[in-house]
């Protein structure tokens, strides 16, 4: 549909980035323990010769049991930062490409960002398997050139040994553990060519985790009590409340200022539907004028995490509470902990 911004509202200010970006530093980390083909074939009917012939692999590294993707990423990142000659507080985004961080939430990237002594930059994980690092470089390139980041840390890291079936003849010898990192930043010359990227979801089952997590629920249910030993999410509600309302809510003022608008220009406020009490306290704390409609979709929808802002915004549009072409201040925040606020023109 064709929608124009409402005539009486200011045009959003948008940043301008440098014309080009490039990779300023690279770093890598291989775990200490070397795993030879001799060790691998203890569990599969194969031989060193067969493995080398089929794969070219002579050895690989496995991380220690207590060594995490975040530990490995940190080591690689420190090398990349040193090579780039920057300090961690200059990093404005941390992207971690991984499919073996064993928590559904939070993402690994915010933890890495904290370990590195950055200044609390945007941080999130990318799930694009073996293409993840190249996806990350593409995103970093675009973020820098668009002016939304100065330096981006991109890490590709996997602890595949945690997810490899050592008895599977077809894959046991293939995988290893390690981390690689890059610092991407502004450049005087084109340093990253256009990314040609895509997907072939029709073949989704060619490389996959054998069972979805939810498939394990039945195995983890006690026959006697019916209790499920399942890693459900847990939340420290009071702490989250304080963090959301008092620590990070003021970023909405920064988002308004960055966009060149004031609360008087806003048509709606669409905060993440975390808890009505958070919404109420937040409005009070940031001093949002009482006449601006606020999304309260949580009453009928609950907290749907990443779905909550678009669900609430779509509802406000559909119910006529938000005008087409109007300005919405949207604000997401949650596990990580992470947050993002921006002003958008509604479709």
């Amino acid at each position: 549909m064709t929608v124009q911004p409402k005539p009486d509202q200011p045009t959003l200010t948008v940043p301008e980035g440098p014309r080009h970006a490039r990779i300023h530093g690279l770093g890598g980390y291989r775990p200490e323990r070397v795993v030879t083909n001799e060790e691998i074939i203890k569990f599969i009917d194969s031989s060193d010769e067969w493995i080398q012939q089929r794969s070219g692999i002579k050895e690989r590294r496995f991380a220690r049991e207590d060594e995490t993707v975040i530990d490995m990423a940190e080591a690689a990142a420190r090398d990349a930062i040193a090579m780039a000659g920057i300090t961690p507080d200059q990093i404005s985004v941390v992207l971690m490409a991984t499919v073996t961080h064993p928590y559904q939430t939070p993402a690994a990237a915010p933890i890495l960002a904290d370990r590195l002594g950055t200044g609390g930059p945007a941080a999130f994980d990318i799930s694009a398997a073996c293409a993840g690092y190249c996806y990350g470089i593409s995103l970093a390139n675009d973020m820098i050139r668009a002016g939304s980041a100065e330096y981006v840390l991109v890490v590709g890291v996997e602890k595949l040994s945690d997810f490899t079936d050592k008895h599977d003849r077809g894959s046991a010898f293939i995988f290893g553990d390690g981390a690689g990192a890059a610092i991407v930043g502004p450049s005087d010359f084109p340093g990253i060519g256009p990314t040609v990227w895509g997907s072939d979801g029709e073949n989704w089952d060619k490389i996959m985790q054998k069972e979805p997590w939810t498939g394990l629920r039945a195995d983890m249910t006690s026959e006697e009590s019916g209790a499920v030993e399942w890693p459900n999410f847990a939340m420290q509600g009071q702490s989250v409340f304080r963090w959301a309302v008092y620590t990070i809510a003021p970023v909405v003022d920064k988002a308004l200022a960055a966009a060149g608008v004031t609360t008087a220009d806003l048509d709606v406020f669409v905060p993440h539907q975390a808890n009505m009490r958070i919404t109420d306290a937040m409005i009070k704390h940031i001093g949002l004028p009482a006449d601006i409609p606020v999304a309260r979709d949580i009453a009928e929808t609950g907290n749907t995490s990443a779905a909550s802002v678009p669900l609430a915004a779509a509802r406000m549009l559909n119910e006529g509470e938000a005008p087409h072409g109007g300005l919405a201040l949207q604000f997401g925040f949650g596990a990580g902990l992470v947050y993002a606020a921006q002003v958008v023109v509604l479709p």
């Binding site: 420290q236 509600g237 409340f241 008092y246």
Partner: protein, 82 residues
């Protein structure tokens, strides 16, 4: 300058009134925030954050659960003021 207990109690009562609408007079040293004043865990956080601003002290999340009664909060703030 550090406030005395009575001043802290009065300041706390003012915050409770602003945040919850409860009469400031009801906020007495022996009252329980939750049971007597009906201040739940989230409202308590609003009181805590405002108390930090007002009294210039830091009240960590982990400490909040120990502040069950008004006197606990007054004592904590008194000590934190040094």
């Amino acid at each position: 300058m550090a406030m005395n207990e009575q001043e802290i109690l009065a300041g706390l009562a003012e915050i409770v009134n602003e945040e919850t609408g409860i009469e400031a007079d009801a906020v007495q040293m022996d009252k329980s925030f939750q049971e007597d004043l009906d201040i739940d865990s989230l409202s308590m956080m609003q009181v805590v954050v405002n108390a930090e601003d007002k009294f210039g002290v830091r009240i960590p999340d982990d400490e909040v659960k120990n502040l069950t009664h008004v006197k606990d909060a007054v004592n904590f703030i008194t000590n934190a003021q040094g």
